[in-house]
Every structure is written in structure tokens, then in C-alpha cells.
Symmetry: D2
Subunit: 333 residues, 4 copies
Amino acid sequence: MEGAHPSVMERLMQTNLESTPGYTADDYCDRARTLIKKACGCPDAEVHFLVGGTQTNAVAVSSVLKPYEGVLAADTGHINWHEAGAIEATGHKVLGLPHEYGKLQASAVEMYMSDFLADESHEHMVCPGMVYISHPTEYGTLYSLEELKALSDTCRKYSLPLYMDGARLGYGLAAPGSDVSLDKIASLCDMFYIGGTKVGALFGEALVVTRTVTVRQMVTHIKRQGALLAKGRLLGLQFGTLFSDGMYIEISRNAIRMAGLLTEGLRSRGYEFLTPPQTNQIFVILDNSTLERLREHATFSIWQRLPESRTAVRFVTSWATREEDVRALIALL
Amino acid sequence: MEGAHPSVMERLMQTNLESTPGYTADDYCDRARTLIKKACGCPDAEVHFLVGGTQTNAVAVSSVLKPYEGVLAADTGHINWHEAGAIEATGHKVLGLPHEYGKLQASAVEMYMSDFLADESHEHMVCPGMVYISHPTEYGTLYSLEELKALSDTCRKYSLPLYMDGARLGYGLAAPGSDVSLDKIASLCDMFYIGGTKVGALFGEALVVTRTVTVRQMVTHIKRQGALLAKGRLLGLQFGTLFSDGMYIEISRNAIRMAGLLTEGLRSRGYEFLTPPQTNQIFVILDNSTLERLREHATFSIWQRLPESRTAVRFVTSWATREEDVRALIALL
Amino acid sequence: MEGAHPSVMERLMQTNLESTPGYTADDYCDRARTLIKKACGCPDAEVHFLVGGTQTNAVAVSSVLKPYEGVLAADTGHINWHEAGAIEATGHKVLGLPHEYGKLQASAVEMYMSDFLADESHEHMVCPGMVYISHPTEYGTLYSLEELKALSDTCRKYSLPLYMDGARLGYGLAAPGSDVSLDKIASLCDMFYIGGTKVGALFGEALVVTRTVTVRQMVTHIKRQGALLAKGRLLGLQFGTLFSDGMYIEISRNAIRMAGLLTEGLRSRGYEFLTPPQTNQIFVILDNSTLERLREHATFSIWQRLPESRTAVRFVTSWATREEDVRALIALL
Amino acid sequence: MEGAHPSVMERLMQTNLESTPGYTADDYCDRARTLIKKACGCPDAEVHFLVGGTQTNAVAVSSVLKPYEGVLAADTGHINWHEAGAIEATGHKVLGLPHEYGKLQASAVEMYMSDFLADESHEHMVCPGMVYISHPTEYGTLYSLEELKALSDTCRKYSLPLYMDGARLGYGLAAPGSDVSLDKIASLCDMFYIGGTKVGALFGEALVVTRTVTVRQMVTHIKRQGALLAKGRLLGLQFGTLFSDGMYIEISRNAIRMAGLLTEGLRSRGYEFLTPPQTNQIFVILDNSTLERLREHATFSIWQRLPESRTAVRFVTSWATREEDVRALIALL
């Protein structure tokens, strides 16, 4: 809900009147690419900068799939639910699978693929062509390294590129209990994007292709999707700033700390949670009278209506969340 | 698995060397349109002839939906499962809903729509733009008139055109217990197609638009989908034959009789069914050793693997099924 | 405007009540594939059977192109003009090039490609991904072997698969002056289709992929386009008949003879032609009063309005054209 | 090549840490909408904010066209040439028409439509569904009010919505000789966009729908195209600034003045121009040796290779162009 981290804004101001080539072909973008590849331990990767998450997902998925292929995802995956059919707009089906708190397990992919291949009429069905996951998930949960490895193994067994939507990746990397680091992601996934919009940038996502999957002519592909930013350096400047001096993870830690404070405060007051709090999204269960009272003082998302006049609501912290606001919210509850 | 009903073939032979305009603009097509509109009690309908079911569904759905809209269907709907993503190829999402033996109930649509409209972020979700049902369903079941009325009412409440896939419609109309007739379908649905391919024709489906929904330039729309048959009179000749002298329902009755014979034979031998047999598709549960033995003598589809080494298989009868073959199958079992 | 050649109809009648697997997976299709591959001198080719020309073009083009690629074609190409945007419906641009009487010359492709690659902003342009030609063309003209070789060389120089639309291929192969045979086509093109609809079949086109280009999962791809015929054997039976005993070319010869008769008759009476008559499409220039008089007696297409109250009209002969009708037409003129 | 006008940057800095709703649903966007509608004299218009030109064109065109329709445009139109097939990606054909220095005249539309409607096979052709123009054009030229009125009349005669791509609209409005004002555009076009990216913003285009054409659910439609900016207020803030105190036209005037200076300087030195200089794009013809010499000192686009070792190059001025740089360029030449 805020703009960008002050360091990002400062960088944009400093460089505002410089003249550079457009369309992410400038030196600032090149420098940011180098920093990101280094952070991922993946010097051979390709890095493309895009403006928002939905367009990044549509670009990534359609760059990999053949026309007759679809993408496997948890039923709850963002691409299956909250992106207005942007994947289908590129002609591809999202094949929804069962999930655990938003996570797609290797076993679900294994079961789908073995059933699919055993099905006598599978030539009449959409052919699974890649796997989509979100980390953190839409429920704020995180894959463990073991889960991610198992998923990557299953994907490679079936020649399915594994793609990670990292809209909130910083908050996953900064979570204290997580053993999934950027270099692990780069070695286990074939494509992923590092979210900027929700982690300190005005806008922007960095799509990393680890070269285990072949994509070609990505600039043209991105342009065709209407996703090539004219003043592309804005993306390079922002990611260059976020990936200098560990800033991307550093500012994410604030969100984790504030979410921890909120979780603890609510738990001690007896509130229950819809999913185990792990990152910066907290799904707390309120009775509806509390919810109505709260509406006047705070902004949050209604997530799910529950039986017995209760509702799960979502609170989201960020790099910009202030402790005083969290304390005020706890006091209200 | 056979060709066409002998009367259909005879008609094609008789007229083979006549010269007529192409692309369904000939007199045979016009006559067939008139017969179909009369059978539907719907003189103002538009009737378009297409070659196959998947293309008819893609044409129908994409003629109604706005780009940002999707189609509600039972999870088990043919368009969601066995048409290789033909709907998504036109840019639209199939929104799968819970079903009862393949049927989509009004309550499921009602619940989806009320949840959708109540969802604060529904502008970020695919907007439901029509409802798809199959009658008979993919499980061989039939909507009752009451169920169809309820569904139609709910669709009209939410301004959702109701579209019926009638790939096997003849077998539904000929089923003794069914109270859903062609004119009821025409008054409760906005579009539907009358299947020829599976009911006596070499190929062909008749798409009926009841004018409660506006579609325009359908010839161009059909051409663009690669679905406009050059020698269109072949469709007019076939449907003209099938809709003369009540032949469409008459030949369907054979399939129902043969399916009844099979059901009765199997039931009396203690076999169980996956879904209640109502039309020409019979889903019988076999133990796997029986299944293997049967494979050598009969053609059928494996439908679903079940616990305890059992499998649901599908037998399908048609206008061409012979009693001796059914009796032989029963004897084998 | 007629149905099928009597031998084709007879074959359909003979086999009508046989039971075979669907979707072109039957023995009749396999036999027809073998015959076609033999006729093309290309034993390693893949052969797929489809119903009509527009859908075959859309299937072929979209099976080869990456999302960001387009297809080069003569401005007058069928895909660019008379297929209602079926290629664009699959997301690809048709890049129109100058033509000579409907033919695309190697030099036009060479010029486009060298300009394209030299253009500083070509990453912002649709990337040419294949070349489409028609033989015979929409103007009834034919490529010489030399022209086809030059085109093929240029395509291979730029890694552009060459695809030939052979809707009227029989009439090209049967033309006396033509040095382009089926095996030359198979060695110079990467994909092409052999038209059945206009050359003796009720419907049907045989798409030949010569394995110099990789396409995968074609059955699923065809199904997704709504182009997989349920009773696929109808296609195998028709092509099996047409490719037995040289029938495909034999019946085409009649069209060529009748076109020759018409051309000669008109030329001797002083009529002029819009394009040099080579195959079964004759584009004759009439003054408008003659045209109006003729309308009452014959069926033809208005092709192009010309200056000085004249009009080019198209007459088309076929395997079914009778000499008496041609003589009557000449007499009328 | 620069960032944004300093006033725009200042506004972004001032508001950076404010909390607002996302997705252009904030008060800054509302205020900017009000200012734009006022400037257009069109209080009933809808205004949507998007990030870039290609995506705005794709969103606008696909919001209006039926699936079987295409968009008429000058052959040289940006959507037909330099947007990587983004329109075709939405399933629609761009129908290229002859132009005069980049302008599409009413007579060209009239001729296409009357030929189309007279064509016996027009149901097999892409149906024209709207008209696209750019103002200023890709050649830097401007429609006169008379030309625009004639075009609008022809469009209305054929029920074709008229859409104007205003990527460089400010430079057209600020051109001294132009009689086309914002309110004239709003009364003669059905949709148009006011370009921000090239006229003082970091990025952003304002799509104005004048309610003479019906578009629905535009937020969902935009989201589906991946074009809905999460921190939408950035667009509202930028357009709010540009449309306060006449700033949009005021800063455009600098580009026009600088272009005038350049034109005059070159003309007096005997240089010729490819198209008559009217706005901020100057197409000057250089001999190739001059061009090579210049490359070391200045940035420009190669536009077109010409006979006799000459080349047309494009110089573009903007709100940010400095007089000293223009003078230096003239001196170099």
C-alpha cells in the first residue's frame, strides 16, 4: 500500500535526467542482472525484468508450454484464482491439484502424472507441460528444502519444468525457520521470479531462467504480451538497489518481525489461525462482531467465511510496517 | 464405432452427384433447419451445422463469452476433461464445480455465484459468463425436468446463458423415465446442440441458438474456428434424414433397449454399477481378473481404478448395437 | 459442388457397418498413411488426416510456430484473406508479401528476411517463423520446380519451415506442363497437405510432415483445435481409395482437360484472362453486360471489378465436370 | 530516454510513504480521472490507467472486437508493425490499409468497407470491427480536424468504433498548426489514449472511453492482460500532475520548439526530409557517409534505407530536450 523503499526512490531521483537506451537494454539493467545471478549462484541464468506478477506468470508459462500443454498448480495457486484468467488468455489450461495449506506436494504431481499416463484417453486431455508453485504460498506457508527437492525430482522425472512464483520471495527468504535459499531455488527450479512490487520496489519482478529450460526471443515474447517497459532502466535501478548490500532480505526481515509480533500478540489473546503463520501473511479467525468493529480502524482482506459466524481475515505486513501500528492492532483485538 | 444409419447413407448416395452451393448455404440444410426448429417448438431459433462435438463446444462457448469471462461446468464436464483444452484455446477458463453423478445442480451454481459476488476481489477473478451442462452427462445420467428448470432459473437470475452439450441427446430423449423433451430444452436453455455423430450420422452436430442469447456473424465465427464444412449439404442431408419421421428418437430407442438388457443381465448376476444406469452408457464395476479375461473378447473403456482390485468400465450401446452381441457379453460375464 | 467420386462413396457404403476404433487410429487410416508416404517417396513422414483446409492450415501453422512468431505468405494467400482470421485466432500474425500471380518468390522472402534482420528494432517485430505457399495458388498458377527449389533454399538458409497448402494439389500434379511432383514436394517442403475435399472426397485433407520439422503430440494438438474426426476411418477410407491405382491424379486430369477446353474455347472467341490459365481455375474477363446475361445460366465467382465496366470472374472445373456443360458455357459466351 | 519531468518525480516522493488501496482504486487516480475528463470536455467518459502503449492498444482493441472481427489500420500503424504481434496475440487480425505519410484517410476506409460488403465471400473474411489511428502518426504527421471529422463520419456510417493511439498526443496538441484539440478528439473518437510514457511520466497511458462504445468489466479485462498495476496510484499521481495547470501541453511545447529549431537548422543547410516535419519526430535524409560520421556523436534511429547511398534517420525531441544539444547536432551536420 506504500510506494517504494526510500533508498529505491532516492536512486530513481539521482538518475532521473540521465539518458539511456530503453526496453531494459541499459547498463543499470545489466548491472542488476549480474547482482541477481550472483545472489542466485547461477552465473549462466537469463534474467528478464517485468512490471507485475500476473504478466510475469503469463510470460513465463507461455514461453515454456507447447500449445497443447497445460500447467499443473495447486488449486489455490494465484494463477488459478486471482489473475483473471491470464494464463487461459494465452491458450493454456491451469490443471488444479490438491494442496496442503497452499503447497503442492511431490506426491500430488506424481499421482496426477501416473494417472494421466495410464489413462487410455490421455491424448484427448491437456498434456501437463510444467509445474507452478508459489513460495511463500497464497496462504503464507513455505516449502521446506526437503519438499522442494522432492517436487523438483518428480518434475525432472516427468520432464516438467518447475516454475516458482516469488511475488513475496523476500519474505520467504527472510523467515527464520526456512532452509530454502536463493541458490537452492536456482538449482531446483527451472524458472522463478523474484518479486519486487511487494518487497520494496515501486513495481517490478525479476524473472530468472536457469537455462535448464530453453526459452528464446524473450524480448519479443515479452513485447508481444505488452509487458516490455519502455523506460526499462527503472527496473534495473530498483533491482540494482535491492540487490546491493543484502538489502532485499534485510528489508524483508522487518515484515517477518512485525508478523511475529502480531502472531504472538494474537495467540496470547486466544485467537486461532487458519494456517500456521510462517511469513508476512497472517490468517486469523475472528468472530463476525469483532470483524465489524475492526473494520472501522484497520484495513485487511476477508479471506474465508467460516461456520459459527466466524471469518478468516488476512493481515499482511511489509518492509514498511511500523511496530506502533502492529501494537495498535493488537490492542484493538 | 460404426458408420451411419443405412437411411442416412442411402440419402447421401442418392444426392451424391447433385450440384449445390457450399458451406451449409444449400436447400438441404435449410430444410433440416426447418425440421429441427419444428421438433424443438422454437420457430425463431437459429440452427448451425458443425462437424464434431469439441468444435461445436468451442464455437458455442466463444460466441457467447466476453474475453474476461469463463464458463461454469461440472468438474466432470467434457469440456473440462476430454477436449484437450479446446475452450482454453479460445482464451476462456472452464470453472469446475462439484457435481452429482456428472450433473451440475442449481445449488452449485447459486453457491458459486453468491460467493463470487460477495468476494471483495472478484474483479481479479474470471467472471462467470455462461453455464455448460451435458445431457445425458458423461456418467450416462439425466437431468430431470425439475432439475433443469431450477438450473435455468438460477442461470437467468444471474444472466448466465445456459448451454447444453447434447452429444448423446437422442439417447436422453429416448430414455423411458425422462421428462425432458426437445421443446423443454429449447425453452430452458439458450443454446444446445443435437448430436449426430453418436446418433446415426457419419458426423455432424446441430447447434441451436434459441435467440434468448445474441450471437452474430456465426458463419464467420465458425469459419474462423476451422469448423465450416465445405460440402455443408452433407450435414443438411444427414440431419434432414434423422429429423424425418421421428427417426432420431426411433433409432435411439434401440440403444436404450440394449442398455436395459445389459443392465438387467448384469444386475441379476450380482454386478454393481458406478452410477445409476439411465441411458446408453453403463458403468459397471468389475474385479480386475474379470476385466483381464474380458479384454480378449470385448471393447470397452477403462473408466476408473477402484480400491480392492476393482475397476469401473464403461460399455456403450448405440442405434447399431445388436441384441446377440449384448447377450454374448452377458454370457461372458 | 458435388459430393464424392463414386468409388469413394462405394467404399464408404461397403464398410459402413464395420466396427473400428475412432479418431483416425484404425487400420484404414494406417493403410492410407502407407499409400501416401509411398506416393511421396517419403517413408519417414508423419501423415495426419483432417476434415477441411482452414482447420488444416491452422493446425499446421500453430504446430510449428513459437508464440512470438508469424508466418510469411503471399498477400493473396488463402490464410491471409479467406479463412476469416483462423491463423490469428491461434495468436499468430500472417506477414503478407508481394506476389506474382499468387506466387511467392524466393526473392521476396530473401528481401523480407534481410531487411528484418538488418532492422535495429526487429526484436519489437513479429519474428518470421515459417513460410506458407499454395500450389496451385489462389490464382490457379503453379510453381515451377526451379521456383520451388529456390524458395526451399531460401527457407532453409533462414531456418524457416516451408509449408504448402495443397487444397487443389491434384489439379497441380495433373497439369501437363508441371514439373513439380509429389516426391519433389516432399523433399522441398517441410509440411504440406494433400487436398481431398476439392479432389474427389466428401471431405478431408492429408497433412504430411516430412520430419525435417519437429511437431509433437499432434493428436492432442488436433483435438484441441476441434479438428479430430470421431469416425476417423472415413478419412482413411477416402484417402485409401484416392491413393489406390493412381486415382488421385487420374480423376484430376478430367478437370485439367475441361479447363483446357474452356480456355481454348474462350480464347478463340477473343476473351482475355486475368492470369495465365494453368490448372482448373480460369479467370476470364467479361464485360459487365455479358456477366449479367450469364448469371441466369451459370454459377461462377465474381473475382475482381476492373475498369471500363469489366469484371474478372472465376470458373472452376473438377473431377466431376462434364464436357457437355463446358460446351454449353462456351456457347453461352 | 530520460526519466520523468521533475514535478512528477517530486509528487511521487512526497506521497511515497502514504498508504492507499491498490489497482487504481485510490483517490489520486480518481482525481486524475476527473482532471482528464474535464480536459476532454467529456464528463461521462471512463478513464483507465495502464502502464505502456502496446498493452493499452491490446486492451483497447480486444475490449471492443468480437472474436471474428479485425481492426483496420494504416499499413504503417504501430500495432501492425512494432508491437510484436500483440493484437494477434489476442486473436484478432490487423487489416492494413494504404496511408498518406502514416495517415489513414476516410476514403481508404470507405473503399475497403464498400469492397468488403460487395464481396460475395465476405463471410469468409475477417469482419472489420474498428478503426485504429495514431495521432501524431508514426511519421510524425498530424490529422487535420477536417480529416479526422471525415474519418469519424465514415466510421460511424459503418458502425466502426474509432480508436486513437495517442502515445505522443501531447506533441500533437502542442503543435502550432494543429486544429485538433482534446475535446475534438473526445467527440470524434470512441476511444483514445493519452500518452504519458513519452510525455513527462516515468510510464503510464490514460485510456479514455467516451461511452459511445460499450466496454464492460474493464478492470477484469485489464487484469487478464497482465496490465493492472498493483500500486496503481503511481499512475494517478503522474497524470494528476501532468493534467494540473496545463502542464501536459506546456511541457510538450518544448519538444515542438526544439524540433522546429532542428528542422530550420537542417533545412537552411540543404537537408531534405522524408515526411513533412510537423511534431517532435524529424525524418531527415542523410548520405551514408554523414550518417556514419554522426553515429559517433549522436543517438538516432535508422528509419529507412534509400537509393543512392542515402538513409532516412529519425531524430526525436521531447519535453527534456535541451537547446544546446540541438545546436550541437546542427553544428555536427
